[in-house]
């Protein structure tokens, strides 16, 4: 099976929602309500969450005081494995319902058919044959005050379609140095972080088609090893993701996800040259994410992770 599709998150959401726009809404989702809808969309939701939790830091070192600001560009990529391409979907006829392996939203495009009671046939829609997806986010980091810094990121994507509107992702959080209280653990750096990120796809009529909220708490650690700064993080998150659409002639689509206390492990390294730092990391979660980015720091002489 050849897989060849990739998509940025913006393009992906645009296309998914384009399919879910007015007259097409139930094309995509009518076969999926309740648990089936969650299984169908799970890879997308997990990838989005994993992406949002990636690239949030590239050092656990936060100086106690002194102004610094850094502008960062982070890219995240998730590769969907075979396990993500199918899920166990349940027929919904009300009589002798049973489970069938069916494509997820990133799975094979062909519909899957199964025999039901009284020789009826039941179909599950195909997926969109997506092997990778990408998200990128500019973010701004500013500090420091008593070993604390703030981080904000924003993604804006105008679909150009009035019925679909624009995708907006924004988030903010703070990190605080723990290692500053324990000089004895130097050169090990430890920080804690809290982050909130909100995403929504909002139509020109003010209707939120997609609305998601991600709350993350994390423990970051790292230490300088010559020119390289390896780092690691463990985060726990609470995620709310909803798809809602209403239009005349079809039943409203309302799908809600709620996951609590999902973990994500981050392993990465950063490397600084002058006032620019590059970093790359791998995130282990329900959908693993590879992230890489660049950070431009000001003052130019500050915040060298390799100091």
């Amino acid at each position: 099976m050849a897989r060849h599709r990739s998509s940025s998150a913006g393009v992906f959401l645009f296309c998914v929602i384009a399919a879910a726009a007015p007259a097409h809404a139930q094309d995509l989702l009518s076969a999926y309500t309740g648990p089936n809808a969650q299984g169908y969309l799970a890879p997308l939701v997990d990838a989005f969450r994993s992406n949002l939790n990636a690239g949030l830091f590239h050092s656990a070192r936060i100086e106690p005081n002194g102004f610094h600001v850094s502008l960062e560009f982070t890219g995240m990529a998730t590769s969907f494995g075979n396990a993500s391409r199918t899920f166990m979907a349940r027929t919904d006829t009300g009589v002798n319902d049973h489970y069938v392996q069916a494509p997820t939203i990133v799975g094979d495009p062909g519909a899957v058919f199964t025999s039901g009671y009284a020789n009826t046939t039941y179909a599950f829609p195909g997926g969109f044959d997506v092997s990778n997806w990408y998200l990128s986010a500019p973010q701004l980091r500013i500090g420091n005050w008593k070993g604390t810094e703030a981080l904000a990121r924003v993604i804006l994507y105008d679909t150009g379609n009035k019925e679909i509107g624009s995708l907006g992702v924004w988030g903010g959080g703070v990190r605080h140095s723990i290692s500053q209280y324990f000089p004895g653990i130097a050169p090990l750096d430890i920080a804690v972080a809290g982050m909130y990120q909100h995403a929504r796809l909002n139509t020109d009529q003010g209707l939120d088609i997609v609305d998601s909220n991600l709350y993350t708490l994390a423990l970051h650690t790292g230490m300088a090893l010559g020119p390289i700064y390896p780092y690691a993080g463990l985060s726990i998150d609470w995620y709310r993701f909803g798809v809602h659409y209403e239009t005349d002639g079809i039943d409203p689509i309302d799908i809600r996800y709620q996951t609590n206390e999902d973990f994500q492990l981050t392993l990465g390294a950063s490397y600084q040259v002058g006032f620019v730092a590059a970093y790359g990391e791998y995130n282990f979660a329900d959908q693993n994410t590879l992230a890489a980015g660049l950070s431009v720091n000001f003052p130019f002489s500050s915040r060298s992770v390799t100091q």
């Binding site: 992906f12 009518s30 009589v95 046939t121 195909g126 040259v273 590059a278 790359g280």
Partner: protein, 202 residues
Amino acid sequence: MKQLCARLLVIAALGMLLVSAGCITDNADLVITDNICVNVQDTETTGSFTTFTVVDDFKDQLVKKLAAYNKGPKDLKSIHMVGASFKALKVTPHDWTVTADVNIARQDTPGGGYDDGPAPFVSFTDQSLMALKGQPTRANLDASGVQVVDNALAALLNGEDPRMVLVVDNSSVTPTPSGSDPMSFTLQACVRFQAVVAKTNK
């Protein structure tokens, strides 16, 4: 300085990302699930009777349903029945418990012979009509009746205009209707179908 530039180039390469792709809704088989319904209206003064209802807008209903999704029969890869439901819209003057067989047939020419069927479709045993009020009640189907409906749906894709007939053979009603206590009801019978749309590149 050269060394610094080289390092920056390496860093820039690591900074990669951002792609794009064609619209990924291409070529995914989508599924439309909807209903084609008919109202069965009847008034009876006996407990044993046969009545029938003609569904002569079978094609029109389907075309309208597909049009709501900006689709037409030519967009469909396949279409099939997944279930049926019944809902009582009106039951007077009081509840009735019925035992009945509902058969289905295809009769394209009014007054002509059956083109397919009749075949058993649904059976009701001691079914309270009042209990069918509210949410549609999913019916236990008979495979031979399902085949008649699936054949008709397939015929629609071939451009035909099948005309369906529901024949209700009622064997008993409790209490027994009479001239002074006639049974009157309106029952909505719906065939739930799935149409598989083969997406084309946008």
